[in-house]
Symmetry: C2
Subunit: 199 residues, 2 copies
DNA sequence: GCATGTTTTTGACACCGTGTCAAATATACC
DNA sequence: GGTATATTTGACACGGTGTCAAAAACATGC
């Protein structure tokens, strides 16, 4: 057995950085190979395809991101938690220079581009999965808030609404490059959700 | 002068149909040329580049779409108008089979994929412009509603919130392919906006 | 220590995409 | 009818994905 000359995880990290900055379609395996100091053929040998490589790299990101959101949603009043949640979300979109946007949203929009081409069903599953898990986190926070009398609406519906807004923010971010606006929308959403019922 | 052998507008229509179904990156000029019965080189001669062709085709779409939304927002109570607005939006996302999603959102997410590559600044402007104009339409409807006592909040902030939700719906649509869910979120948003203040 | 087997690496290839260019072509106008 | 001008056409350069066989590097057994 000839030993592998590169570190699996290093390559995933380097690859996701490029995918995030330039999109999946906009990143070539040559780019990644150059950055990682690996031959392009070695990547095919190790991962099979660009999409498979992306999926592995994305799972890595998704795990880290979920943990960060969990932390943000963990302490304080419901209002504080939601504020921290939106804050983490926007900070994530706006990281890098120029800002890299939301990998999940950008990935989702590349789906089914050409007939069999582009990211396929596995990728859609991965994106949908992260969104579902984030929704569950928010719903839990709202349910906990409801128990403490900080909120009296339907946690499921409110969580879905909040998640939809975060997805919308990811789009608005690409359109206008106006971070204060994003934060204003987030604040307004929190007001809307918390002021409607209970509080 | 040798006369052009194809109809400009026909090609734009055919091209946008493909862009919408398969995304800008996922559509090749060969595809469009085949569909339109035109030589690929002729398209380069007539439009300059894929991006320029897309921009023309998109402007066509944007104009038609704005008119449709204007009509939806034109009559009835504020609640009825907003309902019709979300309805038009979702119907647009869900048109075609499989559903084609939102061209603006999908286009926005392809921006800045590779360094100088991908859709460039002109496209971003076009996307942002349509979003801005739609926002203005919604804001006008809210302002009118405010005058008639159907709404007592801040029209600008509420319009921005509603637009953000529609962008979020475009993302959720790609993730879950669940139209009833989209309509539920839309209804919930209307409730949230109209129940908060006034009404 | 050396031969063997297995995996990784490497480079060549086929194919498809964009965009450019010069040559051929078809018309309008004089 | 000849000429100018714009369009069409086909060849080309370049870069992307993915495949494949040959070369290379190590682990193992003798």
């Amino acid at each position: 057995m000839r030993p592998r000359e590169f570190n699996h995880d290093d390559v995933l990290r380097i690859a996701f950085d490029q995918f995030w900055r330039k999109g999946v379609r906009g990143t070539s395996l040559s780019d990644i190979a150059r950055d990682a100091g690996v031959q392009r053929g070695s990547l095919y040998n190790a991962f099979g395809s660009k999409e498979a490589l992306f999926l592995l790299a994305y799972e890595r990101y998704a795990g880290d991101y979920l943990i960060a959101l969990q932390k943000a949603l963990g302490t304080g009043s419901l209002r504080k938690r939601l504020t921290a949640f939106f804050d983490s979300t926007i900070t994530n979109f706006r990281s890098g220079s120029p800002p890299r946007g939301c990998p999940t949203t950008r990935g989702l929009m590349e789906l089914g581009a050409a007939e069999g081409e582009g990211l396929d069903e596995d990728a859609r599953q991965a994106f949908a999965n992260l969104i579902s898990r984030i929704t569950a986190l928010v719903q839990d926070a709202l349910s906990a808030g409801a128990k403490r009398g900080e909120f009296s609406g339907n946690p499921a519906a409110a969580a879905l609404h909040i998640i939809t807004v975060t997805r919308g923010l990811a789009v608005i971010e690409r359109a206008f490059d106006d971070e204060p606006q994003l934060r204003k929308i987030a604040a307004h959403t929190i007001d809307l959700v918390l002021d409607k019922m209970g509080r």
